[in-house]
Structure formats: C-alpha cells, structure tokens
Symmetry: D2
Subunit: 439 residues, 4 copies
C-alpha cells in the first residue's frame, strides 16, 4: 500500500517536516485522552445503538488504525500487540479481514479500559520511535499514512462526543458528560430560559451563476472524496447569513410541522410516523418549557442558538415550510471558499452550538453545526478510491447518504476546510447537524 | 388544481387537439385491458411483496386517477362511482386523503375483478363524454390532466407486467403469463440454449466535455421532474455501444463477483449477504444450465441478450469489476438526445429483452432494459413540484433512489423520450433493469 | 403405514361398514363445496395472515390428504394427479417431504380454482372407486385412513370459515360471506341493537372431587390426542351454566379491563400493548354503538350472545376480573361427558353464536364457541403419536398451546364429542372462541 | 401489603427468630458481593441480550426489592435513597409503577458500580437497624418479607452467574470469570480431554402408581407457586438414576439429531432451523475436539459430566431419540421428596456440573443442572397469587414456560427443596439446564 504515490487521486501529499508530524500525532492522541477524562469506566463500555460505538472501542480502533496501516506495513519487525485485536477493532475494512459484529461492540467488556489504554500507549510508543528514527523506504507513504491516521483520530473524537451524548441521553437520570463550569452555570440552575431571540434577521447573500471549480486544490492533507477538483456549472443563488435558530424551528413545530405530510419527503414522513418524531432529537419539555439535553446535562432551550440534532428530512421539511431550500454542496463550497475558517470548534470544549455573532456578512459557515446540503454523497467526476484496504475508507459509502459541510462544535478546527465532505444517511440525528437555507 | 397554468414548471403544455387526446385516452385504456387478457382472475388479485400491487389494484387505481384528478375537479355534476374507492385506490396522495395500507392490497378481494372492470367502463364513459362535449372552463388544465392520466396509465402498464412477473416467479409451478406463440417457441421446448454469443464487441463512443443543456425542452408532455431545462458541465466521456450481455455478466459471476466485497458498495454488499444474491433476480439453474424465468415461462439464458433484473448495486459492482463505471444521467441524456427513439417496446408484446442489433454506432439506448445511471434522483436546479395533490406525483420521492433511463420492453414507445427520468431504490430488481457502461 | 393396527394408541378403530363410510366421505366433501358456493374466485385465493390459508389451498390440501395417505399407499396403480402437488399442498408433514412456505400460500394463483376443483373431482372419483371395489389388504387401515381424512376435511371446513372471516374483515368494505337471508335481516338494516340482555343469570353447578377417567373410551373414531384414557384426580369444582355474554364482557371493558395490567398474564399484557387490543377481534364501533363483523357482514352486537373471537389471554383476564377462573380440560370433560352433544353447529349454516337457550342446567357445552380451558396442550400420560408421517398430525404441536373444548358454530355436529381436544396458541383470536367460567 | 397473613396461599410463614433472620440477610447479601469480586467494572455494565441483565442492575434491583417491599411499607420514616431508583430498578411490578425498558438496562452507565454499592450499603444498614430494633406492627409480615427478599437475592445470584456467563461467551476473547485455581487446572492447560466416560450406566428406578400429595407442606419458607399442596394421580413410572451425560448427548448429535425433524416438537424444529442450533449453547470445536465455554474459560468437554445449557426442545428431542421421555414435575417431586438435598451447589464455587458420583440409587436429583420436566408451568389447583404487587412475583408468568426442578451449580444449597419450581420458556438455554429421563 502506498497511499501517496500509488494513486494520484489519493488522500494526501503532505510536505510537512517529520517533527511537526510527530507533534501533530501526539497532540491528536492527547486530545482523545483529554476528552475521556470526565468519564467513568461504565460510560466507556456501553453502546446505545448499532450506529454508535462504545468510547473504549473508539480508543482501540483509532489505535488499531495506526497499527494496521502504519506499523504493520512500514515498520520492519513490528510485533502486533494482541493477535485478536485485528479482528476486534477493524471497523469495516474487508480487505484487512473479517470484523466483529458492529452492533455487538457493547459486549466487549474485555479488553478492559485499562488494557486498551496500555494498547494505546504501546502503539503510540512505537509510532513515536518509528517517526523519530525517520528511516523509511517510502517517506511519502509514511507521511501520508500518519496524516491520515491523525485525521481519522479526529473524526473518532467527534464520534466519541456524539456517541456518548446519545448514550447519556438514553439514561432517565440524564447524566452530564461533565459538571458545568461555574462561569457558565446560571444562578438558578439549568432551567433559565434564554432571555430573547437576538439572532440577526435572516438575510440572503447573492452569488452569480458560474462555472465553478469544486474540490480540494491545496497541497495539504485532504480526503480522497474531496478530489478530483473539477468544474461544475452553478446557477445564481443566495445563501443565508446564518444557521436556522431554535426559535425559528419552534415556529415550524408550532405550525404543525411534524403533523403535515406536505412538508416532507415521502421517506421523511415515514420516519416521522414510525419514530414518532415531534421535535429535534434532544429536545424535551420540563414544566411546559422546552429544554434540550446537552453534554452539560439538560439545559433551557436557547432560542437564538442554531437548531441542532436534526435529520436531513427535518432540514428539508423546514426549508420547504420556509418556502426555501437547502444549498447544494457546490453552492456551499463556493461561499465557504471565500470565508475564513472561524467558529466554535471542539478545541474550545464548549461542546454546544452558540448563537450567530452577527459580525460577518455570513456567519457560522464553520463550526457550531454540520450543515445538511441537498446533495447526495457521490464521487466527484473521475473519482477513484485509492487502491488497497484504505480505498474502503470513503468510496464504498457513496450511496443513500447526504453531504454535510462546515464542521461542528465537536470538530477540531484543524480538521475542517471548505472542501471537506461529511456524509450521513438522511435519518441520522445524533450528530451536531443543523440548517443553512438557500434561495 | 390547474396543472398547466398554475405553475410554470408543471407537467405539461400539450397543444394536441381534443379528438387526438380522446383517441390517445382510449388507446391507452385499451392497451391496459389487452395486457390482462391472458390472465386468470386468480393472477389479478395476489400481491407478491409490498413493493408490488395486484393487477386488479392497478386497474382500479389508474381509473381512480382519472376520477380524482379529472372528473371530480373539472366535470360538473360528476358523481363518484363508490364512496370508499377514494380511500382504497389512492396510492400515496396525502393531499387527497388517507390511503389503504400498501402492503395489504392483496387482501382486497372485493371489489371483484368484474366490479373493477365496471368501474373502469363507467369512468371511461364519463371521460369520453366529457371530452366529447368539450366545454371546459380551463381547457389547458383539462388537456394537461388527461395527458398526465394517460402517461400514468402507461406507467402502471409497465408495473402490471413487472409485478405480475414477480408474482408468477414465486410460484414453484413457474406459470407463464401467456403461452408462447408457436413462432417463438423452439422445437424442443423451452430449454434450447441460445446458440452462441454473437453480440458485437463492446466499444466506447467518445463525447467531448461540454456545458450541456439538460432536461425537457419540447412542447409536448413531459413530467415535472424532467424540468427545468438547465445547464450542466460535463467532462469528456465515452459511452458503450450496447448493453452488457448475460454472457458478460456470467463472467463476472464466474470470477466470484457475488463473493468478493471489493466490487461492491457497502450497502450493496450487505444486500448480497442478507438476501443471498448469487445471480440476477430471475436466473435459475436447470440440469446445470442457466435459465431465466420470463413472462413466457422458464427459458434458456440467451448469452448475447442484455442482462436484466439486476439492482443498482449489481450494475455498479459489475462496472467496477470491468474497470469502468455507469454513466451519469447527464451523460446518458447527451447521448440519447442524439439518438432516435427506437428499440423493443411494450407495443411489440415481445416482453423480453433482445440482443443488440449491432446496426447503429450506439444500440439499445431505448427499450430492452432500463439503464441504471450513477445519478441519485434529485430535483433539477430550480425544480419545484406543481401545487396541490399532483405535486406529490414525483417530487416527494427524491431521496435514496437512482435514476434509470431509456425505457424497457415493458415501456410503451409513446411513453419514453431522451429526457425521461425513471427512478428506483438501489436494491430494486423486479423492473427490467440492465447495464450501460461508460468510461 | 397402518393407522389402526400398528399402534394401540392411534387414531381409530372404526367398525362402520364400507358403504356408510363412502357416504360419509361424499357428504364431507360435498359440504366443503357447499361452503364455497357464495364465494367469488377472488375470495378463494387471498391469505390474510401466515396463520390462515387461502380457501383454494384448503380445497387442495384436503384432497392432497386423501391422495397422500389413502391412494398412494393403499390403492395399487394410483397415479398422482400432478407431480408438484405433493410439495405445494403438504401442510407440515416432514416425513412426506419439504413443504411450500406456509406464509406464501397466497402467492399460488395457479393451480386455479377451476384446476383445484378438477383435482378434487379426480381424487374423489378414485376414492369412490377404491372404496366401491372394496379389495384391500388391510381393511382396518383403509377404514381408519378414510375416517381420518373425513375428520381432517371437517377441521379444514372450520378453518375455511374462520380464515375467510378474517380475510373479509380486513377489507374496509367489510364484505359479507353471503347475503343475509330476509328472515334474519331486520327492517332497518344491520344496525338494530338487540333488544335486551335476556340471558339467564350466571350460576355454577357443583361437582364433587373425584378420581376421574379422562380421554376417549368409545369404539368410534377419535384422535390420538384423546387417548390413552387415564385417571386424573380432580378436586371439587363448579362450572358455569352458560358462556360469558357480550354484555358481561363489555362490563369488563368498561371497567378498564384492557388498561389494567393486574388482570392479565404478563404475556397477555404484552399482547394487549403490542397489538393495541381494546376489544374482541371483530368488535367495532359505528355511531357510538358496538357492532361486530360477522360472516353476514357488520351486525349490531347482541348483548346476550356469547362473547366470541377472544384470545386465551382475554378469557383468562376476564375470569380474573370476575374473581373466577377457567375450567381445566379434565373438569370440562367430566361435565361434558354427562351432557348431550347438542347446540349450534356448522350444519345449520347459522355461522354465528346464539344466546343460551336457558333450557338446560348447563347450556352451550357444545357448539356456539370453543371454550378456552386453563390446560396447556400436552400428551396424556402414556401418549405416543402413531408411527409414520401421520404421527405428525397432533403430537408435535404439544407446546405453548391451550386446549379448547366443545366445538363452535363452525364445527360439524358429527365432528365433536366430549373428549375432543382442540388447541391454539394463547394469542389466537380468529377462531370462534369464548369463555366458560369455573369456581 | 401483608405477605404472611393476608392470604393463606402466600409465600411464607417463617418462625425463625429475628437474629437468625438478620444473619441470613447479611449472609445472602455478602454472597452476592462475593460473586462479584473477580469482576472488572466493565463486566458489570454490559447486557448481552434482553433476557439477561447487567450485573450492576442485579445488584441494584435486589436492593430495590428490600427498599420497596420492606423499608417503604414497614419502616416508619424511611427515606428512599434516590427518587428515580423506584423506576430504574423495578423489574416487572406494574402495581409499583412503570419500569425502565428491560432490553435497555445496558444503557444505564449511571448510577455507577460504586454508587450502586453505596446504595446497597445504605439499604443494608437500614434493614439491619430495622431488624435489630425489632419493633414491628406486623412481625409475621416483616419476617415473611425479609425471607422473601433473601430468596429473591439468591435467585438473582444465580442470574448474575448465568447472565455473566452468557456475556463473556459472546466475547471472541472468551474471557474467564475468574482465573482457574491451580488445584483444578490440569497440567497442560485447558485442553485436556477428560480421560474416559466413567459415568454409571443409565438405569431406571421404578415407582408405583399413586394418588400423591404434591406441593410444599413444611413450615419454612416456600414460594406461592409451590402451594397449595394437593393430590395428583400418578401412573407407575421409572426415573433415571442420573442425568444424561455429554457423551450420551454427543451420540444424539452424531446420529444427526439436529438435522432430523422427527425428533423435535414443531416449535423446537423451528428453533433449530432459525437459530442454526447444532450443539448445546456453549459447545465449540477447537482443533477437531469438542470444548465448552465455562466460567473458567474454555475447557475440554468432559464426556461423563451432565449435558448442560440445553433448551426444553433439545431435552425433549433427546428423550424422543432415546425412546424415552422427560418426567412430569409430579413424578420428579415424588422421587425428590424421598431424596436428601445433596449435590453440587453455588456455595462450593465449583460453578460447573460434575459427573454423577454413582454412590446413590438416584444421583444428581439436586444441584449440577436444573432438570427440564414435561410439565408446563401452571398454578396448582386452588392457586391464587398473594394480593398486592408481590402477587406479580410468580403468578403472571404461568404461560408458555416449562417447570424445571432440582437446582444447579449456580443455586444455593439453602435455596432449593423438593417442591421448588423453577420455570423458563422452552427455547431458553443460558441457565444451567440438563436432562433427567423417565419411562
Ligand atoms: Fe474509523
Ligand atoms: Fe399511480
Ligand atoms: Fe391439514
Ligand atoms: Fe427480581
């Protein structure tokens, strides 16, 4: 496997120097550990649904990734940590071998959290040594693989937060991921309704028709699915200046949004009926007031914060209700490529979306909430996955999913960019997902 | 509801004269009856799966369509045939009202086939009188609705054939829809293996990159989903001169196609494993030879006829196996708009795809088999469904389906055109669906 | 296979003469045909649930039974009617061979009803000739098999009625099996509420403790599961003088019976919640009045007629609500063996249970409704099924079912007796099942 | 709620003195803690299937039982430990209130194991004080409730072991519950095949026909379902001198037992086909030799040890294969009431069944494996559950389950007796269940 050189469309052509890369590796791994600090062992083992994984599984799987794709092929004499970990912690790479059933990851009470931590330390030690030694036959491939492993680690950091949030939300005790810092907590506890919706009025910024270049064209890391850069013709469009707020979404609900099929795709309406959706995933009423479950426990719903944890179906229905639509991913990328990558990211550990600042013509393009686009997730013209197991990373999932853009409060700032394509099935709600409108 | 005038993007602006339209109506209705002639009453009642409907239900539903969208709104004094038919034979129009459960249509042993035939005659009589009288407040809307009803009737003619084929195939007796005409039947019965694969070698015809206009631009009937006509940038591509044959597909099977995950989308591989797919839907082995179930019973597999009754997943896997890909719908339409609409259609009552003639540079663009494109089914830029119930015809299904192009042996010649967009979920196999390759 | 002689516990040792038996055969077959007279072909093909079968399947299967167990083994030179009918119409006899999937019987549109009628005529002709010729190597076995086939035919006559009732009830048109004879129909149509509940007050007749002989001890036909006759010790008990009425059951409903878990077995409560049971199977409200679907269409609920079409769970819950219990099958048999076999049976073609006459100390022991007993269906002490395929008739179903006694309006008078054991799973509601209480 | 006095059929009329009772309470609680000692926190949180519960849930629920049924009603001024524990740790008592979904118990990562341990200590402290103070209005009721709580604790000790065994078995690492003590471990590790089947030949001990008294008649604790004592007529029978061994069961397998429907109940055969059963639950092959997963990890199969972890269906099929049958529970109780309560129980911490000693005429009546009887679990004649919530303990489960007798290696010696009735559905395999044959 030669990630960087075997395939022109492949993941990465990083030119950073090795010590920077090693630092990035250590930082990424340390941030994963940082995210787990507030957790009890119990929280790390449970799996709340087949789509989510236990935290300890994420810890092991991200380690397995470095072991499988870096140490085994590139580090001569590397001896695997445990003979069965290849099977247990392989997520979906058929070319590597069979995988333990995804839906049963919550049954793996062994290796224990402590043992997985030792697995992490062992692999980290080997990677550090290997990079420090710096003797590789194929330096580009090594660099590309380390970079990919770091990006992969960051993706699983986001999943740790979202999977955990889902798990904790299923517990009637509604436990918080962490105790809320004093500074944030309001005087009378969590139930203070946010004063008043002060978000700026929604406006649309116009863009002219154009034959646009879409896809990554830099020389830093980017995923295979952001390439090849190619032309798309895009008609004139307008994009909203900020995300849709909780208050705006509540108006949709109060207009009977969840009970009127005319707003919904047929599959969306089925999802509403079957799952009895009547609000975003984590909304709940307490004493007649809307609250939402957050990583800091149940909080009053902030009316001018962006609506979050909604499916594509809900985003699409809201847009239809509003007489508008969701942007295509090309439209979104045209806008984003002219916008600085600023916003609320995982590094802040705020872990909950905030109201738009209102200080820029177009706010919240990055961070806060992933933004559903109307674009099904397909390969760009000329796309071909890299060869080998790593080709299974993205390409085989290009079916029945929609593209999301922009990152969220659970995404690292260093992970996101204008060309970044996230993807989830239209019914998924447990990610930090929100709505950007277009005309 | 005003189909033609209320909405510029809507279905139709036909300018045919009324007597032509009335003839087209009668012809379409008569062809539906013609298709049912070989059937026993028993065959018309059963439902083989939730996706399929009983023939008698199709007979009633297509009649319901004219009653609901033409007679009730436009024909003053029209009295509905039966008070509960609105509920029983509404397929999915929420704006019309609740619908009887789709999966339970096989429970409707009443109205009987004879009663449904009387329902058809009654409604046909009213439509004929109404059109003959020719006094409408809104002539364009009437014409548009009749035209839509005819097209709808034709779509259900195709479904009658495919649903019936599926039903008969589930019977261990493998009953034929009709006895094979002598001319077709071979001397020693159905098991004659087709002599030799004589299909022309596969070649690719090149098309240059272009900013193409896509979508319907004529002034005859077209569906809302074929509009608005708009520009798409398309890179240079090549298109295969014919459909993939049974013989070529068999080579994929013999190369372990159904057992090698590397050829499949992740969801496709799941479908293979869960449904234990090992061949196209109607293939079966008899005495070590491959046969296929057809509307004329079980027949030897013809090696140079196009492979048929495959899912998108199989089409996509085959293309990957072949080192090629499926065309996008824009690519397909560029080619098709330069190709005469000729081929094997329902009118011939051949009802099974034939080998490519090899007489044109690009064969089989129309008829024989619907051709899976790699394009998810979404609205064209600027698409908005018509207002009212009829807006539910196409728009709400734009999710998790793929576009198919070109029509099949079960499609009427008068129904298909270069801009026509059919759509099915990627796992669907019971339509006449095949593979066109692209480079 | 030698039913009568090979196994002392087996089905039958009939001593009737052959011409009587041949008459009984013809009568049984003719009654099956009589039951189908009011039906449309459409009604005969559909299957409303996996537990029910299409009428045409019953017609074929009862014929298959004579072909498989009588003609093939005993009639030299018999040539099977069709090579695949052995597979298609085998219900569950593994020793005979594989069976077509039970839940898919509604897909068998061929053989047509007309073809199945020819199958019936053909097999009937052979049986008649065979019996008329009267030359058997093993006369007892032949007689036993014919007798068993007749009893089997009668069981399926009851199933034809109950499966059909279930099918018709699922149609929103609520079609009647037959038009109601004038004499029965009330002047203002079906909605006349029955005047007044005139059923005699419920009373309990006492029986002393005893070491009772239970099981069949006559020398006519009886099923294997009615044997061996054996002793059971039974404590003193009281039995109700009649079945529980609709009016009494309605009082249970009005007391919140379907919403109070304390009346229900745990599995019963789950069934209530999952299926949202709120009344007996065929009850429905029209304009605020309770009606029930019958084979004569929707009728006003007769308050003093016995409650019918309830599960064991409902019978058990009602008894608990009433502070009473269901009888064991031994208790029931002690009472029934002292009671003449009189009541409302299938021969009358009334096809709906009637109020108790009140003329006997204990009414309705036979006919009207099968009576759920509290006895799980197990083999009697020393029970062993007959050898061969026919041993699968009863024995292998002795698990997770409850015994019902007494027959119903859909049972032939000539089919029932005091020792007769019917059995269904506790959640079954589509048979004519009611409640007899005990103390 | 007055368990002892309100209802003559109720659980218990213990006359032990209070300090003995308090000792028994402390011992039972301590043994639960003892069983958890070898566990990691991770092992205590996971739930392997809806029928099983996490260990920590068992720890909390058994505590909830004392809190709900003893402290709240009898201990004036008792303040519940946590307001939501009533909901979280209620298993199925509808009269107490709603319950957290059983299948989701594995989502409860909070309260943590440490918090549940504090819950246990707190409630234990209150119970100890309450009993030490000894001032009760209704001493019999208090005593009865404490006794019931102890028995309940013991039942959950067994479930802790069986649920845990199931969980660990699902992990490909096959972790042992504990490291095997040296004394037990064989020299060359776990894979030593047991020398030779030395179990005594199977023999049958005869018992004459009798009108037997069945059910508990002592004055110590017994469950409501062991009462009322009543008479049953039992025909002459023979009972096997020991349990069926692994070696004998293997002969059934090698004779095609799992592939021959003639040995199986219809529902049993469905279970075999659907679940692809081909051996007892924990059997597995390693290098061509049969092993089984135990609480000490994977061990060679001991041919003369009793077969264990089989369903009723398998026990019944084996008996049919052997030309024999399972005993009724009355037969079993006649034998057991003449047999000393000796055997391998939980106190020994052996935790795996042993070969029969062969030293008594009838071995293994108690301990080793629960013995499936052929008796469906129903109430004895005259049975009525106690009033109040505690009446839900046993009575509502009397449907579609079979009675098991004798206890197992996971049952406490002090918990079992000749009249004790355990019950599980016929498909259950994760308890320590085996086969005793009868003639
Ligand atoms: Fe991953
Ligand atoms: Fe339609
Ligand atoms: Fe039958
Ligand atoms: Fe419990």
């Amino acid at each position: 496997m030669n990630l960087a050189t075997s395939n022109g469309d492949a993941f990465a052509e990083p030119s950073v120097d090795l010590s920077e890369l090693a630092d990035a590796f250590r930082n990424a791994r340390a941030f994963t550990a940082r995210l787990c600090e507030p957790l009890e062992i119990e929280d790390m083992v449970a799996q709340s649904m087949p789509d989510a994984s236990p935290v300890v599984w994420h810890l092991a799987h991200t380690t397995w990734f470095f072991e499988t794709f870096l140490l085994k092929p590139f580090c001569p004499g590397y001896k695997p940590f445990h003979p069965q970990f290849e099977y247990l912690f392989n997520s979906y790479y058929n070319a590597v071998g069979e995988q333990f059933t995804r839906a049963d990851r919550g049954l793996l009470t062994r290796p224990t959290v402590a043992q997985v931590r030792r697995y992490r330390e062992s692999v980290e030690g080997c990677v550090n040594e290997f990079l420090a030694a710096g003797r590789f036959d194929d330096a580009a491939a090594v660099r590309g693989t380390v970079e990919l492993g770091i990006q992969h680690e960051q993706q699983h950091q986001e999943l740790i937060l979202t999977d955990l949030k889902h798990l904790l939300s299923r517990n009637p005790l509604a436990p918080a991921y962490r105790s809320l810092p004093d500074a944030i907590e309001s005087s009378d506890g969590m139930m203070t309704e946010s004063s008043v919706a002060t978000a700026a009025p929604i406006r649309f910024v116009d863009f002219p028709e154009q034959l646009a270049w879409i896809g990554y064209d830099g020389d830093e890391f980017a995923f295979d699915n952001e390439r090849p850069r190619h032309r798309q013709f895009v008609d004139a469009f307008g994009i909203a200046n900020r995300l849709v707020t909780n208050g705006e979404y509540l108006a949709f609900m109060e207009a009977g949004g969840y009970n009127r099929p005319e707003y919904w795709l047929s599959m969306g309406w089925s999802a509403v009926c079957e799952n009895r959706w009547q609000s975003p995933l984590y909304w709940t009423q307490r004493d007649g007031r809307w609250c939402e479950f957050t990583l800091d426990g149940i909080q009053s719903l902030q009316m001018d914060a962006p609506v979050c944890h909604i499916s594509y179906f809900e985003a699409d229905a809201y847009a239809r209700f509003a007489g508008l639509r969701l942007p295509t991913e090309a439209e979104w990328e045209i806008v984003a490529s002219q916008t600085p990558v600023e916003g609320h990211f995982a590094e802040s550990l705020r872990l909950h979306p905030d109201p738009a600042a209102g200080s820029s013509p177009i706010d919240q393009m990055f961070g806060d909430c992933w933004q559903w686009t109307s674009s099904p997730y397909i390969g760009y013209p000329g796309y071909r996955p890299p060869s080998g197991a790593i080709g299974e990373y993205n390409g085989k999932f290009m079916c029945n999913q929609y593209v999301l853009r922009g990152g969220s409060v659970a995404t690292s700032r260093s992970h996101i960019r204008a060309s970044y394509r996230n993807f989830f099935p239209p019914q998924a709600r447990w990610q930090f997902t929100g709505i950007r409108l277009a005309t």
